[in-house]
């Protein structure tokens, strides 16, 4: 593809993230606040040891 963004090292996933964010920003006010929550993604890690989740990490993340 001959896209300028691709030449600058941006992937389609990153392109997609920007496009989705701009769409959320352009929504009607009552929808925008809720939509903005989707801008960030959250990942929770729970390390497992001996077949059980390690409790310390799980507590600090919750």
């Amino acid at each position: 593809m001959t896209n300028a963004w691709r030449a600058a090292g941006i992937t389609y996933i990153q392109y997609s993230n920007i496009a989705a964010r701009v769409l959320r920003e352009a929504l009607r006010t009552e929808l925008r606040t809720d939509a903005a929550k989707r801008n960030a993604s959250h990942v929770k890690f729970t390390p497992w040891a001996n077949g059980r989740p390690a409790p310390r990490q799980a507590q600090s993340e919750s």
Binding site: A8, Y12, S16, A26
Partner: protein, 157 residues
Amino acid sequence: MSFVKNARFLAARGARLAQSRAYSDEMKLTFAAANQTFYDAAVVRQIDVPSFSGAFGILAKHVPTLAVLKPGVVQVVDNDGKTTKYFVSSGSVTVNEDSSVQVLAEEAHNVADIDVAEARQLLSKYQSQLSSAGDDKAKAEAAIAVEVAEALVKAAE
């Protein structure tokens, strides 16, 4: 003996495959985004999608296709002839042999949910961000935002 068995098995499988490959007269659309499911295997008449290989319309019996969505308006014409417009940020469109279609977007909203004034403000905001961007990456990111904002203004007007 085992050859005959195999041949029978293969023939039966072939017949099943030929059957499942028959083009359907009905087009089943699944249109979903991270925020909402709009259609779940619903029968519709026509779908117009914006893609990087150009905007195209899909009717039943369309040739199987894969395409990458571009920010823009997806138009769905249902069986009563009613047209609904949605704005999609990005994603993919799949047209299968059995005339089922999947439109999967990262974010999609009814065009009526776009705030035109807000879209115009975003357009000028990102245009100035583009002109003041320093490196290539920041420039490219601002250019994407400008592209989306332009599409939003065009869709909402």
